[in-house]
Symmetry: C2
Subunit: 429 residues, 2 copies
Amino acid sequence: MSTLPTGVVLSIGEELLEGRVLDTNSQCLSRELLSLGVQVRKCFTLGDVAGDLHSQLEDLRGQVQFVVSSGGLGPTADDRVRAEVSAFLDVPLEPIPEAIAPLRAVWARAHEGEPPDSFLNQAHVPLGATPIRNRVGTAWGFSCDLGQGTHLFCLPGPPQECRSTFFEGGGREELEVLLGGEDFLALGTFHTTGLPESKVEALVHDLMTQEGNPRMGITASPRKVSISVMAWREPGGKSATEVLEGTAAKLRTRLGDLLWGRDGQTLERVVVGELLQRGETVATAESCTGGLLAATLTKVSGASEVFGFGWSTYSNQAKMAQLGVDPTLLERHGAVSQEVAYAMAEGARKASGSTWAISATGIAGPSGGTEGKPVGTVFLGLAGPKGSFSVHRRQFSRAGREGVQLQTVRDCLELLRRELKGLPRLPSV
Amino acid sequence: MSTLPTGVVLSIGEELLEGRVLDTNSQCLSRELLSLGVQVRKCFTLGDVAGDLHSQLEDLRGQVQFVVSSGGLGPTADDRVRAEVSAFLDVPLEPIPEAIAPLRAVWARAHEGEPPDSFLNQAHVPLGATPIRNRVGTAWGFSCDLGQGTHLFCLPGPPQECRSTFFEGGGREELEVLLGGEDFLALGTFHTTGLPESKVEALVHDLMTQEGNPRMGITASPRKVSISVMAWREPGGKSATEVLEGTAAKLRTRLGDLLWGRDGQTLERVVVGELLQRGETVATAESCTGGLLAATLTKVSGASEVFGFGWSTYSNQAKMAQLGVDPTLLERHGAVSQEVAYAMAEGARKASGSTWAISATGIAGPSGGTEGKPVGTVFLGLAGPKGSFSVHRRQFSRAGREGVQLQTVRDCLELLRRELKGLPRLPSV
């Protein structure tokens, strides 16, 4: 790792220090820098205090090769980045010729008269800097050489604009050129669902504790355990990608069908993709998740090919009227029961004519729990061409109402994924 | 502002610098520090490199009154915070007597034999430090005096544990004691929906540009514009709360019924609360939002009192079979039309027997748009005791599929809120 060039990520804005806005740019930029082979040493969040950026740049110049900042490029008085960087470099601000006319047009659409200088300022960069185009907002970014081997990239703060300037406006491209296009590093993240972190870890423990290249980590989120792999070029040997793919092959062998996705893949996309391939459909019948399972499936573009019908049967009346759940089942076992989960799935499959139907009924909390059925008690049902079944899944109630709902949705998707793949069912717990 | 004590927030963990994990602790802690009257000067993210924390503490000692860190307290070799702080203070680590036995019990539940020192380490703090209890995990936090007027709080990194130690474990309480319990500062955020940022800004512009106390800001998220107010104590005059409430009263006058909530309030909670108060119910009939509206309503604990029935009628077949939408409407106007939105709402109200029913049908994208109905074209319907109507709402397609879905859900909630309050309807756009 010691041969990697280094970087620092800056986030600029008083609203970040006041906690009014969550900073997501740092994560995105850190991740991208790393994937380009730049090791991020630190991230800083600065406010809009005059001089803060200047002294930060003093500290960083000569210490790291790359500084990437977001924020502070807008039209208001507290957007000081352009002015501070030109003062730092002791050069004036120069207009970006191609940017001025479009900016005037934006102004004219909403205002009378001439735009103020502060507005046109958004199309200026320090003399000698390379402008970075912003396709989704008015503030251009720029990159420039700070001297002593340090290069600065300044991007706008709104998350969409930060990403657009970096990925589409030329920021990332220039960074690649500066890096000489070498394959320093390759990253992969491998996703599993269905086993707790400790059991996944046990399956790959010996791979993880090996010293050196690649470096591996494991992170758990609700009902999902992911293994991250960072591989780098062996001096005079394998490329970073070869090292990564060697480990990926080992993980596939170790984890088998526990492993369902890689990198940006999601469980809902895997399930929708599998159904698309098979020409099959799925319906949803939700109680405790209230519609979140249907909403999750329909986040996937193209879901309309596999999903036509969903019910949020929050009340008993809805379960009976819409899904044909037998009132005696509700009386005898209660709405939160394995029997009702089974009947909901069956009813949804029948009413929709879908190949599959998934149901969930449970106690999301914070109230509504009893001694026999505490908060986090959830039953899932699956109806399919070869029959139906339902399971009891105890969710971690400590995660709160939304956490219980999220875990339940992940379990529902995993239930169907396993059935589609012919894997053993999720066990009752 | 210059009289406020100052602080720095540290986040510690290689996974943050690698962009594998989004840091939400900094925002939470910054916000809380500010609400206690501590002005956060900077945030830093550090990795797990030995010595980094030590040199950071050197830099900060004597510069700010409070340093609050999260992360680096766990049982693994790269969790260096305890060791680095004791080295910094030149004191040994001491066990927390009450913490050792419970920690051994946690170990014994999952393992054979004695716990390793690294595990028991989680119940140790630098000699003289105040332990901070962790109710949801095994790693205790602590606070200690660094000298030169700087006080350090070290909290665990997992978001739930960070919050639990700070809010319930004694962190916040101790900070309050150190601050002397004075009412330095009061914060409020005021939420509106239905007008774009520029129009909300125009309504309160003169309040915002006043210099001094309180300081105000405006932030826009999909279909929501919020005004934040930071008020502080007038030397020898009003308390911070009095200043804040004075501004709150002005905002209420200026914004009228545009203003629907304050601070942690959400639009869905406002709507559910209003329905609860009136003893009324609502059903949902969703196409392009796929279930997200139902999921949003049922995020609210207690939603079962007002929400019984929801449909995700993603296919035309479902719209006909479940909501009784006339096939000729679908043929003549298409599923994405004002007529079908109207019919979906009517059908859902009838089939559910609810007081109200909301519907949404549109093109969430990225595909499916046409020249006449581009991505972002959405129609909403509302059926109620006094009849039904539907409106055309054009959503910003640049926000992507999920953005269009989210804007549509906010619009649906606002549609109902206005009807419940007897306000003018959301206009077609």
